[in-house]
Amino acid sequence: MNHSELARDFNKDEQRVDWHDETLFWIRNKRDKAAQAIPEWEQLRESASAIKDNVLSGLHNYLLEFESNALRNGIKIHWAQDAAEHNLIVHSILKASGIRQMIKSKSMLTEECGLNAYLEKRDIEVIDTDLGERIVQLAKEPPSHIVLPCIHKKKEEIGTLFHEHLGTRKGESDPLVLTAAARENLRAAFLSRRAALTGVNFAVAETGEFVVCTNEGNADMGAHLAQVHIASMGLEKIIPKRAHLGIFLRLLTRSATGQPITTYSSHFQKPREGQQMHLIIVDNGRSAQLGKPDFRNSLKCIRCGACMNTCPVYRRSGGHSYQHAIAGPIGAILAPNLDMEQHADLPFASTLCGSCTHVCPVKINIHEQLYKWRQEIVKKTGVPAAKEMSMKLMKNALSDPALYRLAGKTGRFLLKYAPFTINNHFNPWYQQREMPQAPETSFRSWYLKHQK
């Protein structure tokens, strides 16, 4: 199934979609308030963007600088070309210490690599500890949002899951009670697991340290209790200097949820005494993306999720409809880089309204890149039938003035008398929309009439 078909499924439950839509927009509004409270906000975005540009242009040396400093700090560094190699490295680290159970805090990279499934096949149990991720793990689903993994779930469904797996009372759906149950259950896991895997938000070349941000404290509970800490990081997470954290940490959480900063921003410089600390630097298509001038600056992404919260398509189609670890506008740029044919539908899952670009803290030109992907995809693979047709119609209409006028008239006619026809044929996005009222006369007819 492609994105628009899955989106149609998601839209069958109208109440849920409305809730999803409104909740994400509420978070988007919190982001606006937080941003407006910082007078130098635009300057911060500008700086963050310029720092990331500099990182991409000097990535080779920054990675080497980071590696040598991290090694000096006692961190073991591994390099993985792709998902398979990343998973193999994790497995071999665990095997070397005879570990069969691991806890994990939020890492979108391990979702991208399919690590959980890989390890489970090798009889290694993985427990996700971020509450939202734990919930989707129990439901045997992938996260639907990079910051809010179970934003698509209602509390009653979570109550049912917890009743089944954690033994909470049947019908219990109070978030306070459910969170307390998860806390107790996961605490036992934190205390007994010998290995913990975390993601990486930023890695500082100058100091060889890495920073992990959470609100729950789960990355810290895992890392500080375990004998083996594995951190998985996409190679674009490098920043040159420690002082640059002062810019990124100001932007990250304000953009994500509107909080001034996450509860914990933990700086791992050296392993704890007696602890093994491993860091895996993962490529998985990133160095190829770096070679595409039109798309390379998608590598500046700091995974705040703001572009998803603001996207009218994401809000009404849900993260799962993207069928990729990173959903939403940025996911629709990153996914085709990994497999263009498989993800050819994603760059079309956008209205190109530009709201994503407008909120992005590192100023990625998201909607322009989506538009560019469309052109690439049309050139190389052809597009799904419905869109191909509407695009052809559009192209013909635009290149032929007479046709354009006719299409304008037909369009108005269809809108007025048979909206379902235009809905189904021209654009899958209109299926769930009330179409606007068609004006009685088009601007062109009005203009011609009044010109005389």
Partner: protein, 194 residues
Amino acid sequence: MKSREKILSRILEHQPESTALPFSPEIQGNETGSLQIFTEVLTKIGGHVYQPGNLNIMKDQIRGLFPGKSRKITTLSLFSDLADTGWTIQSPSELKDVEVAIIGAHFGVAENGALWITEDQMKQRVVPFICQHLVLLLEKKEILSDMKQAYSRIGDSTYGFGTFISGPSKTADIEQSLVLGAHGPKSLHVFLLD
């Protein structure tokens, strides 16, 4: 070629022409952060802020907050009459039953209510995370205005592990309802002293 070399050579081949690092903007606003803003922000995100006046008042306040015989530990000899100062452990999991931990912080940041704490102040890294309630001590004059100042204060120091803590552990993963005490402390109490 090993993966490392392959990745690095692809990057070298693909990275664009070098661009400059931005000129870092000058420090905005006051050199010292506002106590009032710090208190407001930290309170809003679920923390409690106290200005006890002197050490004895502070101790009474802590006793009032945490009566009873539950396990309390500290890394500050100042509080030996309130909490265990002599604790030593073989494994960090031995701290699982700690109810209250009392430790010091280097400085606080007004714009986000965060406090900077390093490993030497924790003794064990897990202390500020595993306790049920966390008490932090901060000198009033150690409040900076924003994160830019925070990093200029941290400079190039080495700390093994350091963290900004801003409020109690929290989650809103279930239908966006805020719950305090996700995996870390359920409450955070910051005492400001002269």
